[in-house]
Subunit: 403 residues, 2 copies
């Protein structure tokens, strides 16, 4: 792979990031009630005004991250949008629960009335990401403390007692280790401790280690498969749930682990992250016939029961791009860059919309656009810009080393 090629990638990725940021700055802001619209059709029209808390939190986080770490996005417009989003979240996302802690809503009306509360941890997690990153650009110590306080609740729910989440305990519903949970917590530990003082790093060190251990439990079948759900003890589970593979998730976990290794210098963990979570899972998840990553697979080759199993979704491809480029950056192994190129070609030729900007999110197995909107209840300003942002920075590093 030539330097010229890497420079072409960087150029394309940089231009695409500018265009994507511009799309959301133009169409997504609710200047009346605050917060962001995320149900945006292919050319920018708002087709639904519900506000999804995951996506509100993620957009605040992404704006702040761009504002704080990339010169060309250090603009008043982006800062103000992030602050307005943060204000909307603080005012409306937290709903009183019947305990001493707060729950966050999952979905709000445009003017902030609660529509739905999930009995899981993820709204709270994206709330934490938003508040911590926003506190970094505003210097608001109260906000940072609030993020930390919420994090302590989440850790309590995950590691000590989930009863405040509101799910009834049922005899047939054994608690499991679902990949999403330790991944999300590891991401938050890294968010909260990044460039913070040693006390905070120490406070969350053991939780970080716990997350890594829990993620590694998902390596199954003698190291030949990453399974999405395992028992709390790390054993394979019965039935469809136990056989489920989610290649995009494994690839995302892979680069979370690589980032963790970057901080903690664990070479054996780095090798596991690359060999198992990234290379093996890419190999398993890539559709050899039509290209693209499957959404779900069954490790024994049964048909998954999720209707979207064979669809090609934008976000696994985003995670694959980051994971493969980061793994290449760490190892300089040419096959990793070849894989990156393969995903890059598929992604830019299928998801990116040169006509109206941003990416389509959902393709059929054969690669036809199945849903033509740019934002929806689960697709906001997050995976695409985070991918482009991470890749641009990694390429900056790679090209800087070369030049």
């Amino acid at each position: 792979m030539s330097v010229v090629m890497l420079e072409q990638y960087r150029e394309k990725i940089r231009t695409e990031l500018d265009s994507v940021v511009n799309f959301w700055l133009t169409y997504s802001h609710d200047t009346k009630y605050g917060g962001f619209f995320t149900c945006i059709d292919k050319d920018g029209h708002i087709y639904d005004d519900l506000k999804y808390v995951w996506l509100q939190g993620r957009q605040v986080w992404m704006y702040c991250r761009l504002y704080r770490t990339m010169e060309r996005f250090h603009k008043e417009e982006i800062l103000q949008a992030a602050k307005a989003g943060g204000e909307f979240l603080r005012q409306f996302a937290r709903v009183p629960s019947n305990s001493h802690s707060w729950k966050c809503a999952f979905c709000l009306t445009k003017d902030g009335k609660t529509v739905k509360i999930q009995r899981s941890i993820f709204s709270e997690c994206f709330y934490i990401m938003a508040m911590d990153e926003l506190s970094r650009v505003t210097g608001d110590k109260d906000m940072q403390a609030e993020a930390e306080q919420m994090m302590d609740h989440v850790i309590h729910w995950v590691r000590v007692d989930p009863s405040e989440l509101g799910r009834p305990k049922l005899p047939g519903d054994e608690p499991i280790n679902s990949m999403a949970v330790p991944m999300m917590l590891l991401c938050l530990v890294q968010q909260l401790t990044e460039e913070r003082d040693n006390d905070l790093v120490e406070k969350y060190r053991e939780t970080g280690q716990w997350c890594v251990k829990k993620i590694l439990q998902h390596i199954q079948r003698g190291g030949m498969a990453i399974l999405e759900n395992v028992s709390l003890e790390g054993a394979e589970l019965n039935g469809c749930q136990g056989r489920l593979q989610n290649p995009g998730h494994a690839l995302e976990a892979g680069w979370f682990l690589l980032q963790y290794c970057g901080k903690h210098g664990d070479e054996s963990l780095q090798l596991t992250a690359i060999n198992k979570f990234i290379e093996l899972q890419f190999q398993r998840g890539w559709d050899k016939e039509h290209g693209g990553l499957f959404y779900f697979l069954d490790v024994d080759g049964h048909c998954p029961t999720q209707l979207e199993w064979s669809m090609k979704l934008w976000w696994p491809h985003c995670e694959a791009l980051i994971a493969l480029l980061m793994a290449y950056n760490n190892t300089k192994k040419p096959t990793l860059l070849d894989r990156f190129s393969e995903v890059y070609e598929y992604t830019f030729s299928h998801f990116s919309d040169p006509e109206n900007g941003e990416w389509f999110g959902y393709l059929t197995q054969e690669g036809k656009v199945a849903m033509d909107f740019k934002g929806g209840p689960f697709k906001g300003f997050f995976h695409v810009p985070r991918c482009l942002y991470m890749c641009e920075r990694i390429l900056d590093g790679l090209l800087g080393d070369i030049n």
Copy 2:
């Protein structure tokens, strides 16, 4: 359309019903713990042993209905299977709730431990269907009373106070009229009162009328659309939820209304059922390019946010076959039989599996098999046999009239 053609349809439908019944008799019975496996792959292998209460109830109902009303299924094997399913349901499906009423689980382990409870009415509804129909073949008056008692709870939850269902009241979550609810209740009113004495008919008469009124509220846009969700007052709702169309559901509602008219002789209602719920909705829902009925559509032509919107599912086609043939039977309008033929051709050539029996459930928009299993968490022994059973009986009637 010639009599020969109708006879060919009946012959094919009869043979298919025999084959489908045989598939489930052969593969789905759990002889150890009772109840039925429904996660069955393309050639009969069980790929998951969870037991879904909707599907347990539906299978009991269908076995009993066949046993009771069709000579060739009046077999000990079918009766015993129904009884064993009913016993499993009675023993394990009902879970104690914190009020005087019972809730039913949504999902159980193979040995009956509760895995999941939904905060809706549908597990209870299929429990009622099963118990009422089973009480008809066994003559068990206690069981009939139990079905009625559960029905009274369901009516209370729907019409008086939903709080026992366990959903928190949220300021942004206004109660709505979702088509599924009055449809389901109308189906149950017809189930519970069929050939029962006048007291029972009288007891549920007003609820039946209420269901019809609530179903008719879904006719919107000056009679030019059937919308899946409307306000309690029958007004169009904002956003995606308000614009959603579910052609299969509307067609099913259409034949439920026709059955109701058959009992109550309401000609204007019959006309509405046929013109709006059946003909209009078929017209809207049929994919002119690839054939088959879309799963979801947005009345204004936006892309629905449900990932499966463009897929072709087995059950809307089952409902369309019943609705079109019943409408033809009532009116003898040739275009209705032409539509029936069109759906019949698509359905038998795409869903039915001549190799291993039963039907595939999920096709891509283009008609390729997307999931190759015969049963799953939502596909059991219900829509296919009910469709074949209803169509065979209607054809018997039609051919009887002619001969």
